[in-house]
């Protein structure tokens, strides 16, 4: 398998305080790679450096062998799609307008919106079962619906590499599963920050663990999500088993206030 994304020694600091330090990550074609770690460990910061919301202090990132930071914003947006946490849009756009914005990396200055763009937008919405809300106002949707619209936008963007920045935070469990299922079904390469360890265990092919801005450990979910690692990184006790139905790891947290034998 060829490597699609190669991150080497990525370092970024806010006002002299290192947020992420010498981070190395590689993502191969077709992989679903998870980035886990406690709050403030730098998951989001790593991703923001990748989708160019932040400029790193040191290190290099290569996408398909090309230096990401030398690419134009447009060129990188044709390859990498991003779904962030639900963001406030203070202005009243229609759902289809939000999704159509996914087409903007493919547009030059004077290009009009074509029929093909419209078809792509409607197809993306239909794929998520949201064709009937195309004309509705984005502001009036529920959190889960909004997140699905953003996924539709990234589908309309037609990239084969997705960066997900804890896209299911604050969503109901049904939506969390739905969103990850949808992404999985797209069969694209994914690098995702994931808050919930059980979600990471279910969906990821490989996992990187961040602690204090450094990569602490990496490997398959079975290699990474051990009782010992969870204790070291999160400071909690847990029980890790293979679930009989999913055949995936299931992590049960063991709070101090309960008694176990």
């Amino acid at each position: 398998m060829d490597t699609r994304l190669q991150i080497e020694n990525l370092t970024f600091a806010y006002s002299n305080k290192d947020i992420i330090n010498e981070v190395n990550i590689s993502v191969k074609k077709g992989e679903f790679v998870g980035l886990i770690g406690p709050n403030g460990s730098g998951k989001s910061t790593v991703l923001k450096n990748l989708y160019r919301a932040l400029d790193p202090d040191r290190g290099s990132v290569h996408l398909d062998g090309e230096n990401l930071f030398k690419m134009s914003h447009k060129a990188s947006a044709e390859k990498i799609g991003v779904v962030g946490q639900e963001n406030m849009v203070p202005f009243d756009f229609k759902v289809e307008e939000i999704v159509a914005m996914g087409r903007s990396p493919h547009k030059k200055l004077f290009d009009p919106d074509t029929k093909k763009d419209h078809e792509i937008v409607m197809h993306a919405l239909a794929h998520l079962g949201m064709a009937d809300v195309a004309k509705r106002s984005y502001l009036n949707l529920s959190g889960g619906e909004k997140q699905r619209v953003l996924i539709a936008r990234v589908i309309a963007q037609e990239t084969d590499f997705l960066i997900l920045d804890e896209p299911t935070n604050h969503l109901d469990i049904s939506y969390q599963l739905q969103i990850f299922d949808l992404v999985k079904r797209l069969e694209v390469t994914v690098l995702s920050a994931i808050h919930d360890l059980n979600m990471a265990a279910m969906y990821c092919d490989r996992i990187y663990v961040l602690k204090d801005g450094k990569i602490f450990f990496s490997g398959t979910p079975e290699e990474v999500l051990t009782v010992q690692l969870i204790r070291e990184v999160y400071g909690i006790e847990s029980d890790v088993t293979i679930h009989p139905l999913t055949q995936k790891l299931a992590i049960t947290f063991l709070p101090e206030s309960l008694k176990y034998n």
């Binding site: 962030g84 849009v89 203070p90």
Partner: protein, 394 residues
């Protein structure tokens, strides 16, 4: 772009505009008689359907309204001139046409229409369009409905540097453009300053934004006052009330060209970049991930907003709340897509300012109110309402 041209460029274009409108009126008439009233009503409703507005039709209607506004507003004032005479006087100034226009007016009519009111009304159109577009631009920059050059102190900044420039003749070397350039610098500095103060962790904090805007406008107004009070004779028409409340009273033909050119240029630049403006409303991170170079787009917006507000304020003073009211009404009418918001705001802004200015010279005639006082009277309450709604949503 063309449409704006038609409404504001007088010598040739107004006529073209009138003929143009006549053509469409004819079409609309045919529609009424051909297919019956119900269908026409339905069609009108379809044009303004917010989910799928017919933007071309709306712009054409607004252009007709703008031309009608110009003709009617020129006639209104302490001395009334009939719309027919106004139209004749305007048309008589057009080469080739002047021979065929009946001479129905008096010299007094002519002096009032051509010498006083027409430049004033056209300046109102240009200023209103500019202020509305500046509002749209600043709202995209800070991602909030509440941005307006007046509220964020940009008008005050422009006024302060403009008066400073007049007093010390800093840019005198640039001749007639010196006032506009010093106002542009003040506007630019204020936008950059307010914008930098209110950025907290990479996001615009709206409380900081509004408060720093208030503080800056107080400081800048104080500077303006000091200059005006210490050199009352040097500034002539540009007295305190001009800068603080705005006025179109001193309009001359010579004032029109620079603001018009700047407005059309800036509007063109913004329209070319309408996708970037739309995407920017989703937030900087989302915009970056959609292929927009956020920093250079923001720089472009700051430059465009400073240019337009500086040049406009140099000729009209601080007419407040236009940049707040007009984009808001526009979005209620046709949604948030900048491709539509920009031209519609420009037309609505022009029409609004011209009518408010008509009111300003009629309400307490023969005395005049500064036009900015009236816009504040309407705009202030709308601002408070938006502020309430804004805090509810966040």
């Amino acid at each position: 772009m063309n449409m704006l041209n038609l409404t504001v460029k007088v010598d040739v274009s107004t006529v073209v505009g009138i003929n143009f409108c006549g053509f469409f009126l004819e079409k609309i008439n045919k529609g009424i008689w051909g297919k019956g009233m119900n269908k026409t009503l339905k069609r009108i409703r379809n044009i303004f359907d917010r989910n799928n507005p017919n933007i071309v039709a709306i712009i054409i209607i607004l252009m007709i309204l703008a031309v009608a506004t110009i003709v009617l507003a020129v006639g209104l004032g302490p001395v009334k001139v009939s719309p027919a005479n106004v139209a004749n006087i305007i048309l008589s100034q057009v080469p080739f046409l002047s021979g065929s226009i009946p001479h129905t007016w008096t010299d007094l009519d002519y002096n009032i229409v051509w010498g006083l009111r027409l430049p004033r009304v056209l300046l109102g159109m240009i200023v209103g369009a500019s202020l509305a577009v500046v509002g749209v631009t600043m709202q995209a920059l800070v991602r909030n409905h509440l941005a307006d050059p007046f509220i964020l102190g940009v008008s005050s900044g422009a006024a302060a540097t403009a008066t400073l420039g007049m007093l010390f003749g800093v840019f005198a070397i640039l001749g007639e453009y010196s006032l506009s350039i010093s106002a542009f610098l003040g506007a630019g500095l204020t936008i950059i300053f307010v914008y930098t103060i209110s950025r907290v962790n990479g996001r615009i904090n709206i409380t900081q934004l509004l408060l720093s805007g208030v503080a800056i406008s107080m400081i800048m107004d104080a500077i303006t006052q000091i200059i005006i009070l210490s050199a009352p004779n040097a500034l002539g028409l540009h007295n305190a009330s001009f800068w603080m409340s705005g006025s179109l009273a001193g309009a001359k033909w010579g004032y029109l060209s620079l603001p018009l050119v700047v407005m059309l240029l800036c509007l063109a630049v913004l329209l070319i970049n309408y996708r970037s403006l739309n995407v920017l409303l989703l937030g900087e991170e989302a915009a970056g991930s959609l292929g927009i170079n956020v920093k250079s787009t923001q720089k472009m917006l700051i430059l465009v907003a400073s240019l337009m507000s500086g040049v406009t304020i140099a000729v009209s003073g601080a007419i407040g709340f236009v940049g707040l009211m007009v984009p808001h009404i526009t979005r209620l009418l046709i949604g948030s897509n900048h491709k539509n918001v920009l031209p519609v705001s420009a037309l609505l802004g022009g029409i609004l300012v011209v009518w408010v200015d008509v009111a300003a010279r009629m309400v307490i005639a023969p005395e005049e109110l500064p036009v900015g006082i009236l816009t504040a009277l309407f705009g202030g309450p709308l601002f408070i309402w938006l502020l309430k709604r804004n805090t509810k949503e966040v």
